[in-house]
Assembly symmetry: C2
Homo-oligomer: 299 residues x 2
């Protein structure tokens, strides 16, 4: 029997992913569930976890390592942010233990300060980075509702920035004056995406270039299906332009689901001049959770 005594849980706001490992860390089985952390009462974490794990618990796992929003202040138990610069290898030493009849430990998030003293935070992405990164220096991007761009070198996260790209896309495409000129069910339009990304990469504030979606539509220069990809290109282009400006010319690792990683690869190609590698986000989380568990051992 080569089943590991470890289980990994990536517990985000809207979903949960559970990983069961072989003794060598290979993922034997993955379960995806909709029991997200958002709005979940403290006493509803353990029941949700038992629901999802089910028969996995028959093997009496020794460690269940959780990362993500379950460790937020309003989550299961707060796993306080570790301030950057910070070694990713410090994560296993900073786990929080909720009151539960399961051997659960929750990974901390990271915090950073901008040059002008403003905080930024991430939670969940630290574990993906721990799982994905080799020893070389890299600018790491985890695209999403709130994209994170971290500068990591020799296993140390030096600083990072959040961009509310996914959330602004959702708000602008469904709730704003642009909504009536955007077809939310449209499939991806590469040309429109690159048009939007190019415009944003050449400068211009988001609050300005976004209005172009409406004005171009009024003149028949942008159709509702194309407008969806154009707006996506604008938002990702603004993010890429700003993030590259703030960082040295190192290589870039994009960690996420294949479709969104593809969008960032397109935008980064238009921005030019950087080596880009793509890393599957789910696999990175699974590996990071495994590394944390392994560092703590089974005793």
């Amino acid at each position: 029997m080569n089943l590991s005594p470890f289980i990994g849980i990536d517990w985000g706001s809207t979903h949960l992913r559970a990983f069961r490992y072989a003794n060598d860390g290979a993922v034997l089985e993955t379960r995806r569930a909709s029991q997200g952390a958002a709005g979940r009462p403290r006493d509803q974490y353990e029941p949700a976890l038992r629901d999802v794990l089910g028969d996995w618990l028959d093997a009496a796992p020794k460690r269940i390592i959780v990362c993500g929003m379950a460790g937020a202040r309003e989550g299961w138990i707060e796993a306080p942010y570790l301030a950057c610069p910070r070694r990713l290898a410090d994560l296993p030493e900073a786990l929080a233990t909720p009151d539960a009849n399961l051997p659960v430990s929750i990974a901390p998030g990271l915090s950073t300060l901008s040059d002008d003293g403003v905080h930024d935070v991430l939670r969940g992405e630290e574990t993906q980075m721990f799982g994905a990164l080799q020893e070389h220096s890299s600018l790491v991007v985890t695209p999403g509702t709130h994209s994170k761009w971290a500068y990591v070198s020799d296993g140390v996260v030096h600083r990072f920035r959040t961009y509310m790209t996914g959330e602004l896309f959702a708000l602008l495409s469904t709730q704003s004056a642009l909504a009536r000129t955007i077809d939310p069910s449209a499939s991806f339009d590469a040309l429109a995406f690159e048009q939007g990304a190019r415009r944003a990469l050449s400068g211009g504030a988001l609050s300005h270039v976004a209005f172009g979606v409406r004005a171009e539509a009024l003149f028949g220069a942008l159709t509702p299906p194309a407008a969806k990809s154009y707006l996506s290109g604008l938002l990702i282009g603004v993010e890429v332009a700003d993030a590259l400006k703030a960082n040295d010319g190192v290589s870039i690792a994009v960690i996420g689901a294949d479709d969104i990683v593809g969008l960032y690869q397109r935008a980064l190609a238009l921005a030019g001049g950087r080596a880009v590698i793509a890393i599957n986000g789910e696999q990175a989380a699974a590996k990071g959770l495994w590394r944390i568990a392994n560092a703590r051992g089974a005793s």
Copy 2:
């Protein structure tokens, strides 16, 4: 009897303002009503106008000049955009006449193209500019849901840019992940506003700096009442930084309601180096409508 035969109507999306003039153009009476143009069926413009004007119609006005969203494609009748560069004095020659039993004419909006060929549009602000501007050159700002920055010289609108500042403030402060850290009923906090404006003026994409509202709140560095003014400062700061970058060092005229004009004056003072004059937006609209009516005459 010095009553003018002209009436002016500033018909926006959410409200309507009606102006009754003396023969010399002085505003004798102003009526403000909530019958906005947004979602109004074509056949519901004349009844709404009769409701608001009421006894003013007893004097059998010769001209009722309308500006704003009533002239949009989905409005009363489309008054097509005039392309920039455009003399403001051309406005009276381009009025649209809806099918009505009142002597109504609707002013056109303006359109422009960015250097990279993207459209922008405005409607209503052209009339405020016509009313407000003397012959000198100026960068004109009309703050609001969609702020407009126009470069006007010798009565010609050369180009302009829209910023979705007011709309993004509403979406971010009530619908986004920032909402729970913002007290929407808070009164103005000048220090927090200037802190936000300073951060935005020093660069950084909106999608990034906006997340600082959440992260600062997590560390107790920003209270929910202060967060409202801080976010306002961020959004106006991003707008001001971008608009000044795109325009020469001319003086700036801010046209709008006194409170919002005050916010822009603060942000512009932090940006530095420009002479700023404040112009009441309602008076500017009234005067612009008067000028249009006067140019057409009463016959």
